[in-house]
């Protein structure tokens, strides 16, 4: 018997120490249990239905490569009867995507899946290189992230696919939970913990990109295990860092997550579960209503923050910004009433009455009109320019595009949409390539 026998088969040498429960497994048993857990996530949450066409948002990176590999395996093993395709976005950064797109092309052959690659230039009229030329290297990750989210939805709509799966893992979710908790943004916290981000059918056009369902089958998978799975299965993936944000991890919430994991590996899933539990307490949350009523902001507005990764980690320095922000709220924090104040605020300003129990089906088909919010932040609507689901009159992508097209450098996402209204005509002309919709959200 080897010095470190596998806890499952008791014969082979253990090579993996699972972060979630400290169990020691051999390579074969680890691969089996990793796949079995993803299968459980898919079936328990009813993510797929037979005959469904599913686009895998593929970057060539570890997460989406593992996702594609596992989904292919499970689809064959358990006969899901789903059709899997790969969808890649080319941001238009010279040299940056060359290798990763080559990886995706190889993956397409390895997994025998059709592949579509769409460029930012096709979708927005701007490559990231052109964006950087205009706004400089600082802050351009915002553009990249905001554009990317919509890009997958638009790409899927073009292909007639209604479901996009992404490689977001437990570390990604834990990171967004922490960030939204620190921001005291409970509605957003509830949306980002949701395994399915169902976008309401606000549009009459069935092929509109607002009707795309998003899900994260790897939501409960540790990044560590994803990397180990890729390693032990010898998967062909590509690693890179965004050449425009070399400092991306310094002082980030991501770094905090990794430090927590080093001290107590179960911390990551604990944070994810806590986020879900807190989400249930949020009035009008996804958990409560199946995503139809509280989903005022498209999840992508906060999910995909940077371009260093397909999974939109937060950019560096965000923890420092947070500390600054928290220092300003110190008084509120000191009397220990912060949470109560926040939840009362939510109850006062929104008409949703009770946090519904864990049921996830709820008022699934309710349109946004039935859930109009009184505050700007919570108003469900569509971008008046491009039709994308947005909490503002003009979605972030269109605001950013407006800034770009007005030749106004260093535009931030906080820019008010009043500006957008003033330049409606101008925007119309620049968003011509987009699938415009003028359905009022309210």
């Amino acid at each position: 018997m080897p010095p470190n026998p596998c806890a499952s088969c008791k014969t082979n040498r253990a090579l993996i120490l699972r972060p979630k429960d400290h169990s020691k497994l051999c390579k074969g048993c680890f691969i089996d249990v990793f796949e079995a857990e993803i299968h459980h996530t898919i079936t328990a949450n009813k993510l797929f239905y037979r005959g469904e066409k599913i686009a895998i948002g593929a970057s060539g990176g570890k997460d989406s490569t593992v996702l594609a590999s596992v989904l292919k395996t499970l689809n064959e093993r358990y006969d899901y009867g789903v059709e899997l395709i790969l969808l890649s976005i080319d941001e238009g950064i010279k040299g940056y995507r060359d290798d990763s797109l080559e990886t995706v092309k190889r993956n397409a052959q390895q997994y025998n899946m059709p592949l579509t690659i769409l460029g930012y230039d096709e979708l927005y009229g701007w490559t990231m290189d052109q964006v950087v030329e205009q706004v400089g290297k600082k802050g351009n990750c915002t553009y990249c992230g905001v554009f990317r989210r919509q890009a997958l939805d638009r790409g899927a709509a073009r292909l007639g696919v209604k479901h996009v799966v992404t490689g977001h893992n437990a570390d990604d979710v834990a990171e967004t939970v922490l960030m939204n908790l620190l921001r005291a943004d409970l509605p957003r916290l509830s949306r980002t913990t949701s395994i399915v981000t169902s976008t309401p059918s606000a549009s009459l056009d069935p092929n509109s990109h607002t009707n795309i369902k998003r899900s994260k089958p790897l939501k409960y998978a540790y990044e560590k295990e994803i990397v180990l799975y890729a390693h032990h299965k010898n998967l062909d993936y590509f690693s890179t860092e965004c050449i425009y944000s070399p400092e991306a991890f310094r002082g980030s919430a991501r770094a905090l997550i990794k430090n927590l994991e080093r001290i107590r590996p179960s911390a990551i899933l604990d944070v994810v579960r806590s986020g879900e539990d807190m989400a249930k307490l949020v009035p009008g949350s996804d958990e409560g209503c199946g995503g139809a009523c509280g989903n005022a902001v498209p999840a992508g507005e906060e999910e995909e923050g940077g371009c260093g990764s397909a999974n939109g980690r937060t950019a560096g320095g965000d923890m420092a910004n947070m500390e600054q922000h928290l220092a300003q709220n110190e008084a509120a924090a000191e009397n220990g009433l912060e949470v109560e104040i926040t939840s009362r605020h939510i109850n006062d300003t929104h008409d949703s009455s009770v946090p519904l129990p864990a049921g996830k089906k709820g008022k699934k088909n309710k349109g946004p009109s039935s859930t109009q919010r009184k505050t700007t932040k919570q108003v469900m609507g569509q971008c008046k320019r491009c039709g994308y689901l947005s909490s503002q009159d003009i979605c972030k992508a269109c605001v950013l595009l407006e800034g770009l097209n007005k030749n106004r450098p260093k535009n931030k996402i906080e820019v008010g949409y009043e500006d957008g209204q003033e330049t409606e005509k101008e925007l119309n002309s620049v968003t011509n390539g987009l699938n415009k919709l003028h359905v009022e959200g309210g």
Partner: protein, 110 residues
């Protein structure tokens, strides 16, 4: 006990992946001969190897992307002959002749 070369070094293989190779001149696999004993005369362990890599091998100035607070940066996995270093004593593991030490970053995107 590890067998040492005549010059007091032991041959090992060190690999980098997951993006870490970018810090090591894009070398994914190195054949190294490291001193069998560390500065204090004890058998060289992973902690020593990491210092050795930083001082002697790594040309990239961004050491903090590999080492933080004196140990391998959180988010970088270490596999000793394919086994998670946590199963082998982490940085206290005493390196043996012919060992394969793999450093994999989980921090890089795609």
């Amino acid at each position: 006990m590890s067998k040492t070369n005549d010059d007091g070094t032991i041959p090992i293989t060190v690999e980098f992946s997951g993006g870490l190779e970018m810090l090591f001149s894009n070398e994914r696999k190195l054949s190294l001969a490291i001193p069998a004993k560390d500065e204090t005369g004890n058998g060289s362990n992973i902690a020593y190897l990491v210092r050795h890599l930083c001082d002697k091998v790594m040309k990239d100035p961004r050491k903090e992307l590999f080492v933080l607070d004196g140990t391998v940066r959180p988010g970088i996995l270490v596999l000793i002959n394919e086994a998670d270093w946590e199963l082998e004593g982490e940085d206290k593991y005493e390196i043996q002749e012919g060992d394969n030490i793999l450093f994999v970053s989980t921090l890089h995107g795609g």
